[in-house]
Amino acid sequence: MRKDIFNYELTVTLKDINMYGTVYFARYFEWQGVCRELYFTTLENYQAVFNDIALVTKYAWNDYKKQIHVFDQILIRVQNRNIKKTSFEMMFTYIDKKSGDVVSVGGETLIFMDKNGIILRIPDRITKELNKNIYVE
Protein backbone atom coordinates (compact mmCIF):
# COMPACT_ATOMS: atom_id res chain seq x y z
CA MET A 1 0.00 0.00 0.00
CA ARG A 2 1.39 3.38 -1.01
CA LYS A 3 1.87 6.10 1.54
CA ASP A 4 0.05 9.34 0.71
CA ILE A 5 3.34 11.22 0.65
CA PHE A 6 6.05 9.70 -1.49
CA ASN A 7 9.64 10.42 -0.50
CA TYR A 8 12.85 9.40 -2.23
CA GLU A 9 16.23 9.65 -0.55
CA LEU A 10 19.64 9.96 -2.15
CA THR A 11 23.21 10.80 -1.28
CA VAL A 12 25.12 13.20 -3.52
CA THR A 13 28.22 11.45 -4.83
CA LEU A 14 31.26 12.41 -6.88
CA LYS A 15 29.56 11.55 -10.16
CA ASP A 16 27.01 14.30 -9.45
CA ILE A 17 29.45 17.22 -9.14
CA ASN A 18 31.78 19.17 -11.38
CA MET A 19 35.37 20.21 -10.62
CA TYR A 20 34.13 23.11 -8.51
CA GLY A 21 32.00 20.86 -6.32
CA THR A 22 28.76 22.11 -7.80
CA VAL A 23 26.03 19.59 -8.53
CA TYR A 24 25.23 19.46 -12.24
CA PHE A 25 21.93 21.24 -12.83
CA ALA A 26 20.75 18.43 -15.08
CA ARG A 27 21.21 15.90 -12.31
CA TYR A 28 18.09 17.26 -10.61
CA PHE A 29 16.05 16.35 -13.66
CA GLU A 30 17.48 12.85 -13.65
CA TRP A 31 16.52 12.49 -10.00
CA GLN A 32 13.04 13.75 -10.81
CA GLY A 33 12.77 11.11 -13.51
CA VAL A 34 13.69 8.41 -11.03
CA CYS A 35 11.20 9.76 -8.49
CA ARG A 36 8.48 9.82 -11.10
CA GLU A 37 9.04 6.22 -12.13
CA LEU A 38 9.16 4.96 -8.58
CA TYR A 39 6.10 6.98 -7.61
CA PHE A 40 4.02 5.22 -10.23
CA THR A 41 5.34 1.80 -9.33
CA THR A 42 3.68 2.24 -5.94
CA LEU A 43 0.26 2.20 -7.62
CA GLU A 44 -1.51 -1.11 -7.67
CA ASN A 45 -1.32 -2.82 -11.09
CA TYR A 46 0.69 0.07 -12.47
CA GLN A 47 1.96 -2.08 -15.34
CA ALA A 48 -1.58 -2.47 -16.64
CA VAL A 49 -1.98 1.31 -16.75
CA PHE A 50 1.24 1.88 -18.66
CA ASN A 51 0.88 -1.05 -21.02
CA ASP A 52 -0.55 0.98 -23.89
CA ILE A 53 0.08 4.56 -22.88
CA ALA A 54 3.15 6.69 -22.35
CA LEU A 55 3.83 9.32 -19.74
CA VAL A 56 5.27 12.40 -21.47
CA THR A 57 6.89 15.52 -20.01
CA LYS A 58 5.35 18.70 -21.41
CA TYR A 59 7.23 21.17 -19.26
CA ALA A 60 9.90 20.94 -16.57
CA TRP A 61 11.55 23.47 -14.27
CA ASN A 62 13.69 23.71 -11.20
CA ASP A 63 14.29 26.54 -8.73
CA TYR A 64 17.72 26.01 -7.17
CA LYS A 65 17.56 27.65 -3.75
CA LYS A 66 20.69 26.49 -1.95
CA GLN A 67 23.93 24.82 -2.91
CA ILE A 68 24.25 21.16 -2.03
CA HIS A 69 27.53 19.28 -1.75
CA VAL A 70 29.02 15.86 -2.20
CA PHE A 71 27.79 13.32 0.38
CA ASP A 72 24.86 15.51 1.43
CA GLN A 73 21.81 13.37 2.06
CA ILE A 74 18.78 14.69 0.26
CA LEU A 75 15.14 13.78 0.64
CA ILE A 76 12.89 14.48 -2.35
CA ARG A 77 9.20 14.83 -1.54
CA VAL A 78 6.93 14.06 -4.48
CA GLN A 79 3.48 15.67 -4.63
CA ASN A 80 0.98 16.81 -7.26
CA ARG A 81 -0.96 19.91 -8.20
CA ASN A 82 -2.95 21.42 -11.09
CA ILE A 83 -4.60 18.09 -11.79
CA LYS A 84 -6.70 18.49 -14.94
CA LYS A 85 -8.34 16.09 -17.37
CA THR A 86 -5.25 15.79 -19.56
CA SER A 87 -2.32 16.92 -17.44
CA PHE A 88 -1.00 17.39 -13.95
CA GLU A 89 2.04 18.92 -12.36
CA MET A 90 4.30 16.70 -10.28
CA MET A 91 6.21 18.69 -7.69
CA PHE A 92 9.59 17.78 -6.23
CA THR A 93 10.75 19.38 -2.99
CA TYR A 94 14.41 18.75 -2.22
CA ILE A 95 15.23 18.81 1.50
CA ASP A 96 18.69 18.63 3.08
CA LYS A 97 18.20 15.91 5.67
CA LYS A 98 20.81 17.33 8.02
CA SER A 99 19.58 20.93 8.19
CA GLY A 100 15.98 20.39 7.13
CA ASP A 101 16.35 23.22 4.63
CA VAL A 102 14.54 23.19 1.31
CA VAL A 103 17.40 23.35 -1.18
CA SER A 104 15.45 23.17 -4.40
CA VAL A 105 11.91 22.91 -5.75
CA GLY A 106 11.10 21.46 -9.14
CA GLY A 107 8.07 20.61 -11.19
CA GLU A 108 7.02 18.76 -14.31
CA THR A 109 3.80 19.02 -16.27
CA LEU A 110 2.99 15.50 -17.38
CA ILE A 111 0.56 14.12 -19.93
CA PHE A 112 -0.47 10.70 -21.14
CA MET A 113 -0.28 9.80 -24.82
CA ASP A 114 -1.18 6.74 -26.82
CA LYS A 115 1.11 5.16 -29.40
CA ASN A 116 -0.28 7.46 -32.10
CA GLY A 117 0.64 10.60 -30.18
CA ILE A 118 -2.94 11.37 -29.15
CA ILE A 119 -3.23 13.13 -25.79
CA LEU A 120 -5.41 11.01 -23.53
CA ARG A 121 -7.52 11.67 -20.52
CA ILE A 122 -5.70 10.83 -17.33
CA PRO A 123 -7.15 7.46 -16.27
CA ASP A 124 -9.64 7.85 -13.40
CA ARG A 125 -7.72 5.59 -11.08
CA ILE A 126 -4.56 7.62 -11.63
CA THR A 127 -6.41 10.88 -11.00
CA LYS A 128 -7.76 9.41 -7.78
CA GLU A 129 -4.27 8.49 -6.63
CA LEU A 130 -2.80 11.85 -7.64
CA ASN A 131 -5.43 13.65 -5.58
CA LYS A 132 -4.35 11.79 -2.45
CA ASN A 133 -1.01 13.50 -2.63
CA ILE A 134 -1.54 17.22 -3.16
CA TYR A 135 1.37 19.63 -3.05
CA VAL A 136 1.67 21.75 0.06
CA GLU A 137 4.35 24.43 0.17
Binding site: K58, K85, T86, S87, I118, I119, R121
Partner: protein, 76 residues
Amino acid sequence: MIDKDKIKEIISLAFNVKIEDIKDTSNFIEDLGADSLCIAELIYNMEDHFKVKIPTEKIRKLKTVKDIMDYLGGNI
Protein backbone atom coordinates in the same frame (compact mmCIF):
# COMPACT_ATOMS: atom_id res chain seq x y z
CA MET B 1 -29.97 25.40 -28.74
CA ILE B 2 -26.39 25.35 -27.56
CA ASP B 3 -25.21 27.61 -24.79
CA LYS B 4 -22.58 29.78 -26.51
CA ASP B 5 -21.67 31.53 -23.28
CA LYS B 6 -20.92 28.18 -21.65
CA ILE B 7 -18.75 27.17 -24.59
CA LYS B 8 -16.75 30.38 -24.26
CA GLU B 9 -16.46 29.87 -20.52
CA ILE B 10 -15.02 26.36 -21.05
CA ILE B 11 -12.63 27.71 -23.69
CA SER B 12 -11.57 30.47 -21.32
CA LEU B 13 -10.70 27.97 -18.61
CA ALA B 14 -8.96 25.49 -20.92
CA PHE B 15 -6.85 28.16 -22.66
CA ASN B 16 -6.49 30.53 -19.69
CA VAL B 17 -7.75 33.51 -21.70
CA LYS B 18 -10.33 36.16 -20.87
CA ILE B 19 -13.87 35.47 -22.10
CA GLU B 20 -14.06 38.93 -23.69
CA ASP B 21 -11.06 38.03 -25.87
CA ILE B 22 -12.90 35.04 -27.34
CA LYS B 23 -14.72 35.79 -30.59
CA ASP B 24 -16.75 33.35 -32.66
CA THR B 25 -14.12 33.62 -35.35
CA SER B 26 -11.14 33.14 -33.01
CA ASN B 27 -8.69 30.50 -34.13
CA PHE B 28 -7.58 28.37 -31.17
CA ILE B 29 -3.89 28.47 -32.02
CA GLU B 30 -3.38 31.73 -33.89
CA ASP B 31 -5.74 33.98 -31.90
CA LEU B 32 -6.01 32.32 -28.49
CA GLY B 33 -2.49 30.93 -28.16
CA ALA B 34 -3.59 27.37 -27.54
CA ASP B 35 -1.32 24.37 -27.98
CA SER B 36 -2.23 20.73 -28.51
CA LEU B 37 -2.53 20.12 -24.77
CA CYS B 38 -4.93 23.06 -24.32
CA ILE B 39 -7.05 21.79 -27.20
CA ALA B 40 -7.18 18.27 -25.76
CA GLU B 41 -8.22 19.70 -22.39
CA LEU B 42 -10.91 21.74 -24.15
CA ILE B 43 -12.30 18.79 -26.07
CA TYR B 44 -12.53 16.55 -23.00
CA ASN B 45 -14.21 19.32 -21.01
CA MET B 46 -16.71 19.87 -23.86
CA GLU B 47 -17.41 16.14 -24.01
CA ASP B 48 -18.08 15.96 -20.31
CA HIS B 49 -20.22 19.07 -20.11
CA PHE B 50 -22.32 18.44 -23.21
CA LYS B 51 -22.37 14.63 -22.86
CA VAL B 52 -21.09 14.07 -26.37
CA LYS B 53 -18.22 12.08 -27.84
CA ILE B 54 -16.09 13.96 -30.35
CA PRO B 55 -14.26 11.54 -32.67
CA THR B 56 -10.50 11.95 -33.02
CA GLU B 57 -10.71 12.55 -36.77
CA LYS B 58 -13.21 15.35 -36.15
CA ILE B 59 -11.07 17.01 -33.47
CA ARG B 60 -8.39 17.81 -36.03
CA LYS B 61 -10.92 19.84 -38.03
CA LEU B 62 -12.07 21.96 -35.09
CA LYS B 63 -9.88 25.02 -35.38
CA THR B 64 -12.11 27.95 -34.35
CA VAL B 65 -14.73 28.77 -31.75
CA LYS B 66 -17.36 28.69 -34.48
CA ASP B 67 -16.23 25.18 -35.50
CA ILE B 68 -16.91 23.97 -31.97
CA MET B 69 -20.27 25.75 -31.81
CA ASP B 70 -21.33 24.30 -35.16
CA TYR B 71 -20.22 20.80 -34.23
CA LEU B 72 -21.98 20.83 -30.88
CA GLY B 73 -25.04 22.48 -32.41
CA GLY B 74 -25.39 19.56 -34.79
CA ASN B 75 -24.59 16.80 -32.34
CA ILE B 76 -26.37 17.55 -29.05
